[in-house]
Symmetry: C2
Subunit: 645 residues, 2 copies
């Protein structure tokens, strides 16, 4: 998608002015990077056989003898050539005089995307031929010598069309895709942002970067852990989903402040926009409370935030899990826009509308609504239809669309039963304007909120595709969600409990007594960090008391404590109070760069089926290489038949 | 070993002066860390519930109200208590007055290694009770309030004796071991050194930190790669031994300068001082030659070198592989001391000594010797015996000890056949002194050198155990070894070739023609970095020409090129010339900290059998958890019998 946009701008932009564009193009990469690296200016030419990068040359270099290395981006009528490196583009004049015939031959015959080295002089472009859109647009290179370092074979597609091709093709030829502006920008921004996080943690706040093992032991309930067979029969390592146990053990070991940019593994089979291996900024510290961790992370993001974005404002707002659910119908609210869920039960206490009456008479029965701004203008009749169908199909709920203009209550005859006084009260409560639409539902509190939360997001997308500017694309809206429940009923057996997050999460100090009476009601000291409606981090204050940990694991969760005996023992031997957090780096960078997928911020991602389309991993292994690991393949029966063919 | 040394110093040093010692103790940790972090002073108390660390308090804090959190290190007669955190130690006065009975109770009853929080005032120690050996030795804390944060159960051993116990016990209770000065120092130094490397690469030289996958496809000949079964029957990921392919593909992708602190995996079964997962500083850059990479690394080590060591002097000396073998009998010479191998063939051209005659008459036949300084003084008769036995058993070679004092040629009657003129020539060539011993051998060049190389190291160890100071413990002697052979004969079939390093290594520019005539003679552009006789890094300029890469893989190495088709294709599509290096981080930090084992610089290492002794990984997996991966355990027959019991 973006590849042709910047590349075509480049092609167009070489010798004649182009229209102003908001698309990122090569010319801005260097500026952005230099800005965002805080006026540090890395030496890009040290140790290399070039004297300069293509993108750095300016009028101030006029007359200098330079040696450049790069890829042939474009050639025009055997007179000009545009050379590209990671830094930018520069125009090279192909010499036309007889004496330079060999240089001309090299530069004219080398296919596009070949790698060349040229030496020559920086000269002014002839008057009138400057290109103000191009950072190097005032100069060009008068070549003296040229060397073809590597010829490029015919590419499997026109590189201009590359981004229009399927993502599968981009992943198969990832090394070509990486040459795009966008991938260069994404990977360089990622590197710089992580570097600044390290500076903040390590140099400013005394955190210690400690590597923890990835060949570990399975964790209780670790059903999503990849296995690694060992040379001992029947014994397997597991690739951990996070360094959770290790970071806690480091606190017991007195390391005080730990962080790691940690590789983690999760085998969820095929899931779009998930990767089997991913990276988290993993943090743990001792003698800290929830506020401490929150301030630490606010400072971390503020410090590491790219300078080409609006600065991060701290502290971030905080809502409780209960508030988030009631107001946004989700525990990861997108707070870039309003359309909050409003409880309008009181308006309908005496209603004659049957399904509202029904709902309100039941326990936790409520009437809730959201207001779609200018909905009457932007939403079509069929949108309302599909909203109602969605509610019926997925939530078994009725949705009642209410328009201020009573004539437009399409398909909801019940709306006619809303009395004028109710309508006025509704307008007041929901703060609706002339063209707004109210979506109203009734039912059990959580269910009604969840439904409206989904509809809130669906309608926002819909309004935006219809042209409304609802969410500022430059806005980054952070939010803490706190006071989660400590336990949830098990899906397969709702009378048993499971941890809402993980079993090491400490209970809320005010709710400890509930563990022994009504554990379901106990809140935890877990906190989630949400950015623009995406969970980008989560953490908690941990249990440091061995007795409490044992009680929760054995009595409440009915886990086999033997598998965690080392951790329980560690808590017995002087574990300090501690807490931490993990930020999902891939997701964070994806949001910061505005990329459509996390695959765009990972150099070599897997497809959603977990395949590396470039190298074709995973791969078959000859049986003799399985032997040392004492395993055999169990071929599924139908697959056996396939193999026989 | 070191645990009791610093700990006992601490115990002794609290209220009375101790003898000067060269052992590292807590008091020096902070000073060292602050020095080595280049006068940056991290804020260790931010976000925490303490006001100060235990180790930072000085006379300048007198009168301040402070809150400290730490472990009870020691208690003396219920009057004093020493509190420890990662930063150091501080003395706390246990209040004796009635009104503070509850504080006294807490501080007197909490077992050693319990975690407490105390608040109080920094006061001067009474005159005469200052401890100049302790950074906090001028002050103590007058406690007002105390809280027991976590009581420590009875430890499984006296912590004073911990380091005297087996390493297995240290690994089982790693979280206790981590509290030791030495582990704290090692892990913090590691973190800081890596941080400085990142600053150098990322901020000063424009390298991009890029993460590459660890779930990959097996590489040709990758017999030492761990397997990870996928959910597709018969398909496996492999955990790569290095990001080699990815870093080259990043260069093809135009990333120009890549680095990563990369987790790598190698399954070598049980090998002492190897880890199944290890870390390398992985570097690759485009448009660079061998000299460029060498300068880059020299600068990197100079920049990141801890400030409490002597600075690194650059450039590092370089020897060729051939010289290294001839002079030191190894490709990783320890250049901290002499005892070089000298070719003395010419002295014996006309000898009457049979085995010398024999050796010299054969192809590549030589007579070689090393000189053991003061060997006559330090080596015993039985040492010479065991040296000769070693040479006979492992190399099938004769060793002739030659003393300047002819009477002492124990057990080598042939030495009497050495003529006076030969003896004088030998003294001149070898530059021997009165009490030296010359060890002489004859045979094929490489074999003779290898043997003398081993004896050189053995004798150095021997001399040092006898009290000679041969290698300065503060000396770090770096060395580049270059011009390795590109291929070696395969061990199992010496008529076939295998890569001396890996198949992507570029041939030496002067030797490309040899690939088509005498490939065995071709040298490579591989380089190793050696520190004090340990290989700490290796790299090469890579092949960027697809044709050459295909020829080497298919024709010379007879590899299945299909498994590398993605890499070959990438080289076809505009791969720039590139090269790189990888430094073994664990080994490097081990040498810098002077640790006996790499396990001492890794937070949670595996035992030499690949076990995590703390958590007991690898572990058994229930058969139902193997099902999604389509594998079964093949129990060895005897193991089946075992299981039946």
């Amino acid at each position: 998608m973006y590849f042709p946009s910047w590349l075509s701008q480049l092609y167009k932009g070489l010798s004649r002015p182009i229209r102003r564009t908001t698309q990122p193009i090569w010319c801005s990469l260097y500026r952005r990077l230099v800005q965002s690296s805080q006026r540090r200016n890395p030496e890009f030419n040290s140790f290399a056989v070039r004297t300069n990068t293509c993108g750095e040359l300016r009028s101030s270099h006029l007359g200098q003898e330079v040696t450049l290395c790069g890829w042939i981006q474009y050639r025009r009528q055997n007179t000009f050539l545009v050379l590209r490196d990671f830094h930018g583009l520069v125009q090279v004049v192909i010499p036309q005089d007889e004496s330079a015939a060999s240089v001309k031959k090299i530069l004219c015959e080398a296919p596009v995307e070949s790698v060349v080295r040229v030496s020559g002089t920086v000269i002014s472009r002839p008057a009138g031929q400057e290109n103000p859109k191009m950072p190097t647009g005032e100069i060009e290179i008068k070549v003296k010598t040229a060397e073809l370092l590597n010829a490029c074979k015919k590419l499997p597609f026109e590189i201009k069309d590359f981004m229009k091709k399927t993502e599968a093709l981009r992943l198969q030829y990832r090394y070509l895709d990486l040459r795009s502006f966008q991938m260069q920008y994404n990977l360089r921004l990622r590197s710089q942002m992580v570097m600044k996080m390290r500076e903040y943690l390590c140099n400013l706040h005394g955190f210690v970067d400690i590597e923890t093992p990835t060949l570990f032991k399975r964790t209780p309930g670790g059903a999503k852990e990849f296995l690694v067979p060992s040379r001992e029969p029947g014994k397997f390592y597991s690739l951990p989903q996070s360094p959770q146990q290790f970071k806690q053990l480091l606190m017991v070991g007195g390391l005080d402040r730990y962080f790691q940019v940690a590789r983690c593994y999760r085998d969820e089979g095929s899931r779009p926009d998930r990767q089997p291996e991913f990276t988290q900024i993993d943090i743990e510290m001792s003698f800290v409370d929830q506020t401490g961790i929150q301030s630490l992370i606010e400072g971390l993001l503020q410090y590491s935030w790219p300078n080409d974005k609006d600065p991060v404002v701290v502290p971030f707002p905080t809502v409780t899990f209960t508030e988030a659910l009631a107001t946004y119908g989700t525990d990861k609210p997108d707070t870039r826009f309003g359309m909050k869920i409003i409880d309008i039960s009181d308006v309908f206490r005496n209603t004659e509308i049957g399904f509202l009456q029904d709902a309100l008479s039941k326990p936790h029965g409520t009437v809730k609504a959201i207001c779609i701004p200018e909905g009457a203008k932007y939403l079509k009749r069929k949108d309302i239809e599909s909203i109602r169908k969605f509610a019926a199909d997925h939530f078994n709920q009725e949705i009642l669309p209410v328009f201020l203009n009573a004539n437009r209550n399409w398909n909801s005859p019940v709306a006619n039963f809303i009395m004028e006084s109710q309508r006025l009260e509704l307008i007041r409560l929901m703060d609706t304007q002339e063209e707004d639409v109210v979506l109203l539902t009734a039912g059990e509190h959580n269910k009604a909120c969840s439904l409206l939360g989904k509809l809130r997001l669906e309608c926002a997308d819909l309004l935006e595709t219809r042209g409304m500017v609802l969410r500022d694309p430059t806005l980054f809206s952070f939010l803490w969600v706190v006071d989660f429940p400590l336990f949830l009923p098990k899906e397969e057996n709702p009378r048993e409990l499971e941890s809402a997050h993980h079993p090491f999460t400490a209970p809320h100090p005010s709710d400890i007594h509930l563990l022994y009476t009504e554990p379901k009601k106990a809140r935890s000291q877990h906190y989630d960090l949400v950015l623009n409606g995406n969970e980008i981090g989560g953490g908690s204050i941990r249990i440091h008391n061995a007795e409490l940990q044992r009680y929760i694991l054995a009595t409440l969760l009915k886990e086999d404590v033997k598998m965690l005996s080392h951790l329980l023992q560690a808590l017995d031997y002087g574990a300090p109070p501690h807490g931490g957090i993990a930020l999902g780096l891939d997701r964070l960078i994806c949001l910061v760069t505005g990329s459509p997928s996390i695959r765009d911020v990972i150099a070599f991602p897997k497809s959603f089926r977990g395949h590396d389309l470039m190298s074709n991993a995973p791969d078959s292994i000859p049986p003799e290489e399985l032997k040392p690991y004492h395993i055999r393949v169990s071929w599924p029966t139908d697959s056996k038949a396939e193999r026989a063919h």
